[in-house]
């Protein structure tokens, strides 16, 4: 990373920590509230314009959906934490994080669409009923996240270097203190960085996707009632793109943290082992928290 950018980030981080100490929470809560109010007002204006068939209403509406998704994702939820935790724990290249963030945010939008239209079909559009349906899905979502935590633990456990024979890589020669074969028995950092698992990605995406955003639900119900179904669906997807912008950045930041760790690991096997242990602990933490959340909601 270029020197100046690195130091700039370090200063920003110090400011962030300082603000956190001084009550960042209060300031952010207030700012978030104000922003949400403005976003909702803008959305209402756009919907009214759509309803009245004003020119430029569609473009204005979609812009607002994007901004709404973006701003809302800055608040609590929307899978930021899960994706960031995953990016810290698992060796995931940046390109893959883009795919994950994109898939999960769009899947989240699709879930909202399915929930609302299932509700419309089953419950004749009663708003409380649809929200109840969305709430019923929540335990499943936490279940998937817990599963992800479990998979991270299992993978870290498998990777932990064993001193005995049978640790999974082959040699043409015997090992002994005078071996001098020039390689370490710790997990290879490059191998750590290139490991992938389709199942992990699936669990992660499902964990995020099964918690549809309340804003998207409101939007879809509103547009359905106004007879603007197609625009509502499009709007929900665009909202998902806005959400993706935030979840992606949080994943990339976390991924940077991990790459920082991997750089360190090249200097010593103890650090590489520590990295694997950290991966296990983080997986365990995700498993415990998400698992208990899922059980509480069942």
């Amino acid at each position: 990373m270029p020197r100046i950018a690195g130091w700039a980030l370090a200063v920003l981080a110090l400011i962030a920590l300082g603000l956190a100490a001084l009550g960042l929470q209060g300031w952010m809560a207030e700012a978030a509230l104000g922003a949400q109010r403005q976003a909702q007002d803008a959305l209402a204006g756009a919907l009214r314009a759509l309803r009245n068939g004003e020119p430029g209403a569609v473009a204005g509406f979609l812009t607002i959906c994007f901004l709404h998704g973006f701003l809302h994702a800055l608040g609590p939820g929307h899978g930021k934490g899960v994706i960031a935790a995953y990016a810290v724990a698992a060796p995931v290249p940046a390109a893959r994080l883009v795919v994950i963030a994109g898939l999960s945010s769009l899947a989240q939008a699709v879930t909202a669409i399915l929930v609302v239209y299932a509700g419309v079909w089953l419950l004749d559009g009663a708003r409380e009923g649809v929200e109840g349906l969305a709430a019923a899905i929540e335990p499943l979502s936490f279940g998937f996240v817990a599963l992800l935590g479990l998979m991270l633990c299992i993978r870290a456990w498998r990777r932990f270097p064993r001193e005995q024979a049978g640790h999974g890589h082959h040699h043409d020669h015997d090992h002994g203190p005078e071996c001098g074969c020039g390689h370490s028995h710790a997990p290879d950092p490059a191998e750590l960085a290139s490991a992938r698992s389709v199942r992990e990605v699936a669990a992660l995406v499902a964990g995020v996707a099964l918690r549809p955003c309340t804003s998207a639900l409101f939007l879809l119900i509103l547009t359905w009632q106004l007879g603007l179904d197609a625009l509502g669906i499009l709007g929900a997807l665009v909202m998902g793109v806005g959400t993706m912008a935030v979840t992606l950045s949080s994943g990339l930041v976390a991924g940077m943290a991990r790459r920082g760790l991997i750089g360190l690991a090249q200097d010593g096997s103890a650090l590489a082992r520590g990295l694997v242990a950290a991966e296990f602990l983080l997986g365990a933490a995700i498993l415990v928290f998400a698992g208990s959340a899922a059980l509480r909601l069942l």
Binding site: P2, L12, L17, D41, G75, G81
Partner: protein, 220 residues
């Protein structure tokens, strides 16, 4: 740039991204409040005007099938029907307002004289809450807050409440500490048992922590 520092930096930046789920309001009501005193210098009623936000208003218009011609205006009959409907509060609804005197919550009667209108896409509800027992205000003070206990609706009071009455009284605003309110909310959610979290209506009643307090003081 040492890699360790870049790692620590990135980790610290994660602190800025709020990771915890929590309550936040979905509806916004701009509120104006006026203390009304009677001729004997007693606080007799609070005059309340609620301006619902545009989204709430749009939802309500659609839910109730109002304003079919989309001209943004309600007919006289619609307004009369709404005034009656919106005055008919359920038993457990305290009107999202709390008046306190000498540490006790003051009983307020149900709303009367309600007028409902639609202005610039927003519902405006104008009504009065009479005190069950008017309070002599000479040398006394009362505290007023507008809030939804569940913090689903956020009542914002942009202007200092006015006073109508014979005496020259004083109103001050004590701003809510939002950071402390958030911490309180998170602590209360943490205290709930697993069974309680599953029940509907178990949200911690923290609305008052997020609301400003208005203190009315009258000279003795």
């Amino acid at each position: 740039m040492p890699r360790a520092v870049s790692f620590l930096t990135a980790l610290a930046l994660l602190v800025v991204l709020p990771l915890r789920a929590g309550a936040h309001p979905h509806e916004f009501v701009d509120t104006s409040l006026t203390f009304e005193m009677d001729a004997e210098g007693r606080l007799a009623a609070v005059h309340v005007v609620w301006h619902w936000d545009e989204l709430m208003s749009l939802l309500t218009l659609e839910d109730l099938g109002l304003d079919p011609d989309h001209d943004g205006a309600l007919s006289a009959r619609e307004r009369a029907t709404l005034a009656q409907r919106f005055s008919d509060w359920p038993e457990d609804f305290a009107g999202d307002m709390q008046l306190q005197h000498a540490g006790q919550v003051v009983a307020l009667r149900r709303p009367h004289g309600m007028d409902v209108d639609l202005r610039e896409g927003r519902f405006v509800l104008d009504f009065r809450r009479a005190l069950a027992d008017p309070i002599p205000m000479a040398g006394a003070s009362v505290r007023l807050q507008a809030f939804d206990p569940t913090y689903f609706v956020y009542y914002e009071v942009p202007e200092l409440p006015g006073v109508i009455g014979p005496t020259a009284c004083d109103v001050t605003r004590i701003t809510a500490d939002l950071g402390a309110a958030r911490s309180l909310y998170e602590r209360l959610v943490g205290d709930l048992t697993e069974e309680q979290l599953m029940e509907p209506g178990q949200e911690p009643l923290v609305g008052s922590a997020f609301a400003d307090t208005f203190v009315l003081t009258c000279p003795g």
